[in-house]
Point group: C2
Chain length 245, copies 2
């Protein structure tokens, strides 16, 4: 009777940590969103796996908690990190309805770190992570966070920047940022981080606003006032060289 | 002639990804800060390793870039992620003085994700990561970021919260946050994440202000207005259950 919430990293496979791999190997049952189960099915042949579709998060967590309460060793898998917009929080909430059980969270590489590594080193200074999805958060709150984060000169990392039903959200977000930041601010995005068809683009904030390439499988990075492009890589200096003069 | 900047995760060992492990195994030379080299020395016996002390970041990167320029396959190791306050940015900057070379960044579990997993699931909603070290950033800029991040109701993750020479910085940071946030805001900190002597504490923002246990090996988490403590774990709801009513 154990429940482990496991972050797979952006593409599973080589991005899995040793702890994540062991947690899946030791589980009697692995539960996850269909696309993430598909990422790991070949790597763990013969393992019992149960998947549910998008927007079935509560059902999925309840299924996992119930199996653990019934005595199974269950692993719930998430893309990226288990905590950052992952299932760890919901698992703890759902588990409140059941007797206390052993719950462990195994962290994974979140898209901010995975995508940052593909682009170069955009997150070497203070940064903020914001999801543009308003399924669970009022859009006004998202706008307010964008504005304040730009005023604070954070590097910004945007999750869920666009979907079919929210086709202009990235544009609306960029318009808010452009009230405060220069249109020349170096930015980048990575689609399908660590997966087949991975694609990284570096561009200005002005060009990002009008880009049509960003979709729901993309993570977006917006530089702070010191971010620059060095030989095709997006780099935010921490200030070591500048200190030495 | 290849240079790889590798994030080891909080404690190396089981927190290493497959990619990070392979990069170290394939390297002719591994370069890093003494404490991080010590973390991996036993795991990679016979591997040539070179370490330099604290505040020798530029020397360390230059040593690595020169070895790579001379034809070696070099891995630069960082605790946590290679990008988040790590060496990836400085490597790209230093490499500007040399002929173009193949540089790859291998991400690792950053302390925000690693420490979050120990505490529960504090980062399940938008968050900001701020370093309280003013060695490279003016304190006024740090204060401003703290204030705006609190106004934006981000969950906050503080790196480098205190050192010998900055013994009251966490207190000063909390005083700024307390102008905006309730002293009852659930918070937590983790010392020595993933290493010997790991210790996690959950407490209120008011109590965090006066805690003397936080040191330079500690990562601090400050909840947003919805963060709560569930059976001893720090959890920020994403809103799935709340949507279902």
């Amino acid at each position: 009777m154990k429940l482990t919430v496991v972050g797979l990293g952006p593409g599973a496979g080589e991005d899995l940590t040793g702890r994540a791999r062991r947690a899946i190997e030791e589980a009697d049952l692995v539960v996850g969103y269909t696309a993430y189960i598909d990422l790991i099915r070949e790597e763990f042949p013969g393992k019992e796996m149960a998947s549910t579709g998008m927007k079935r998060e509560v059902d999925r967590c309840r299924m996992a908690v119930e199996a653990a309460a019934a005595g199974k060793n269950v692993a719930v898998v998430c893309s990226g990190d288990a905590g950052v917009y992952g299932m760890a929080g919901l698992i703890y909430e759902v588990a409140q309805d059941y007797p206390p059980m052993d719950i462990e969270v195994v962290p994974g590489i979140t898209a901010a770190c995975g995508g940052g590594a593909v682009l170069g080193a955009p997150l070497t200074h203070d940064f903020a992570v914001i999801s543009l999805s308003d399924l669970l958060t009022p859009w006004e709150k998202i706008e307010r966070r964008l504005r304040l984060a730009a005023e604070a000169d954070f590097v910004l990392c945007l999750y869920n920047p666009r979907s079919r039903s929210r086709s202009d959200y990235l544009q609306r977000a960029c318009d808010i940022l452009l009230q405060i930041k220069s249109p020349d601010t170096p930015c980048g995005f990575v689609r399908n981080i660590g997966r087949e068809g991975e694609r990284a683009v570096i561009l200005t904030l002005g060009a990002l606003r009008d880009s049509t390439e960003v979709d729901m499988f993309t993570t977006v990075f917006i530089g702070n006032s010191e971010t620059k492009v060095l030989r095709g890589k997006l780099v935010t200096p921490r200030g070591y060289l500048q200190r030495e003069g």
